[in-house]
């Protein structure tokens, strides 16, 4: 096995045993990027020298006998919507094509404190709006398993980088499934933490009540290691929650005896691909055979999630994206006559079609005369959806479902039909509306393409999700599949 194919926890052992240096690991990943990224399109920016500098610093520490963190010297890819001081941060948008943040996002500061090696900034759907990673203003990210198919979105660059071994681990953000869906499509592990568990300071906002940063890894252990670094209260984010951050690796036990798992029937019904359903059923049976108590349950308001989400998220986006006016940063249209013309031209030339569509939809839903009919109605439905989860979690520790209703689809297949594209999120978006944590992990292959298993949990109970996911992983071989790219 090549260095770039290994997990962070394995590489950490090798670093401690002085079998390898961080510089060698980093160089191995950089070489891998040069070889395959032409085909994948995972990166907007690759950080060669910066990365090697950090790697050498870690190597000196190891040589000096200084204790290092499990992620020290490990190459990590960062979605290009997290601010990195002095490193271009584009959100894959023309309107931020030249934006050099003057500060770091809190998660970047924390990764810096443990000497993780930031290896590059990854491609995404523009402003995280999309389910395929085709809405990037620069280029689409392709699925490493089949490059004529989508990587999933919006964090498709991050998931593809880990799947194609162009990064050891990665960070993404999840507003309606943007970590879990691309994780499922690329055959890696991706986790969306509880809302408020990870600081959003320096995460370029899409929908503030739904956005959450989370990890990607080649296995569950690597996700737990990243959770240890990124979780915790931050005074710079007023929605970040004060809680005792556990050592998430302590939950990695091969044991689901007595764990109560519910399968919401709405997530296994109409619209779900038959072969995906089979894989998920098999996964449930696997967990049952390992001692979990698995039974069918219901989340009755599920079918209304899509409409509620696609009113709330665009409404918040239309407000958040009002800041792109060509005044303080980013793109500005040439030679405007006056201020209003500058705003209009800058925004029309700077935003891509999906972003404009959502700004339009959100502005409409918030406008006079429609606020109660659309936005406020959607917020009430959000309450019902949250109550569904609250009652389900009175009975179950974990809810189990597919991550995506369909396998990774062909590039170009859904770009002209927004509603069809939105439908891809039906299994993931309710989690964001309810603010709960969820993880997607590999559960097999259908016609050579990965299937993702989603586990959803109680707020701040990531530990139980990690335990269930780890147990599944230890007793299956799905995570060992690698694309031949």
């Amino acid at each position: 096995m090549k260095l770039y194919q290994k997990t962070a926890h394995r590489l950490h052992e090798m670093l401690l045993n002085k079998e390898v240096s961080s510089e060698e690991i980093t160089q191995s990943v950089l070489n891998r990027i040069s070889t395959v990224d032409e085909k994948v399109g995972a990166y907007v920016t690759v950080l060669g020298e910066n990365a090697l500098d950090t790697a050498r610093k870690v190597d000196r520490k190891i040589k000096d006998g200084t204790n290092i963190h499990p992620l020290a010297g490990i190459p990590i890819a960062i979605k290009d919507n997290m601010c990195t001081e002095g490193i271009r941060t584009t959100c894959s948008s023309r309107i931020l094509y030249n934006y050099m943040p003057p500060y770091n996002a809190t998660v970047i500061e924390r990764l810096g404190e443990v000497d993780a090696v930031m290896i590059g900034k990854t491609n995404m759907d523009e402003f995280a709006m999309g389910s395929s990673c085709e809405n990037s203003a620069f280029f689409p990210t392709c699925n490493p398993w089949s490059t004529d198919r989508v990587a999933g979105g919006s964090s498709g660059g991050s998931s593809a980088s880990v799947a194609a071994d162009e990064a050891i681990v990665a960070l993404g953000s999840d507003t309606g499934g943007s970590i879990r869906l691309p994780a499922a499509y690329c055959g890696v592990v991706g986790m969306k933490p509880t809302y408020g568990a990870v600081s959003r300071y320096g995460l370029i906002a899409f929908a503030s009540s739904l956005d959450q940063i989370g990890p990607f890894g080649k296995d569950v252990t690597d996700c737990a290691l990243l959770m240890n670094v990124i979780c915790g209260h931050d005074p710079m984010d007023s929605t970040s929650v004060k809680f005792d951050v556990p050592d998430y690796t302590t939950f990695l036990a091969n044991n689901v005896k007595g764990l109560k798992i519910g399968i919401p029937k709405e997530y296994m019904g109409e619209g779900i691909d038959a072969e995906i359903k089979n894989s998920i059923q098999e996964a449930a049976e696997k967990l049952a055979s390992l001692g979990a108590e698995v039974e069918e349950t219901g989340l009755p308001h599920t079918k209304h999630g899509l409409s509620a989400y696609y009113l709330i998220a665009p409404a918040e986006a239309s407000s958040n994206l009002a800041r792109y006016d060509g005044v303080r940063y980013g793109y500005r249209a040439q030679d405007p006559e006056d201020m209003i013309e500058m705003f209009k031209k800058t925004r029309s030339e700077g935003f891509g079609p999906e972003v404009k569509r959502r700004i339009m939809l959100g502005t409409y839903a918030l406008s006079a005369g429609y606020y109660d009919a659309y936005y406020n109605k959607a917020l009430k439905v959000r309450t019902l959806i949250k109550q569904d989860f609250d009652s389900a979690f009175e009975k179950y520790d974990v809810l189990l479902s597919p991550t995506s209703p369909i396998p990774p689809f062909k590039r170009g297949e859904k770009v002209d039909d927004p509603l069809q594209m939105y439908m891809v999120d039906i299994c993931t978006l309710a989690v964001n509306l309810a603010g709960i944590p969820a993880i997607s992990l590999p559960a097999g292959m259908v016609n050579g393409l990965p299937v993702g298993l989603q586990l959803m949990g109680k707020p701040f109970d990531e530990g139980t999700l990690l335990r269930a996911a780890y147990t599944f992983e230890q007793n299956t071989v799905h995570h060992e599949n690698k694309p031949s790219i």
Binding site: P102, Y195, M339, K380
Partner: protein, 93 residues
């Protein structure tokens, strides 16, 4: 159900300039999306409170102390146009 004139009004509110083609496209696509959203009206939500946010958020206070802040040079470093320590914009009135 959405008319082209609605799209034009919303575009103005959102400070977007749309081509004729975009206006036609968004009229159709927004209609489709909002028509799908009509299913929400089948739910009786009269006594359901809205959830704008899942956390029981209250005001978050801190001591009023001077902390680190961005120096003006850095804050202006991304400005498309600037003069001295100001952002420069076209005429407003």
């Amino acid at each position: 159900m959405i008319k082209k004139s609605d799209v034009e009004h919303v575009a103005l509110l959102a400070r977007l300039e749309l081509s004729e083609e975009e206006k036609e496209l968004y009229t159709k696509q927004l209609s489709d999306i909002l028509e799908h959203a009509q299913t929400l009206n089948k739910l009786d939500t009269e006594n359901v409170p809205p959830t704008a946010h899942v956390l029981p958020l209250k005001n978050v206070f801190r001591e009023d102390e001077v902390g680190d802040h961005l120096d003006p040079e850095k804050a202006l470093s991304n400005a498309p146009d600037k003069e001295e320590s100001f952002f420069r914009v076209p005429k407003i009135v």
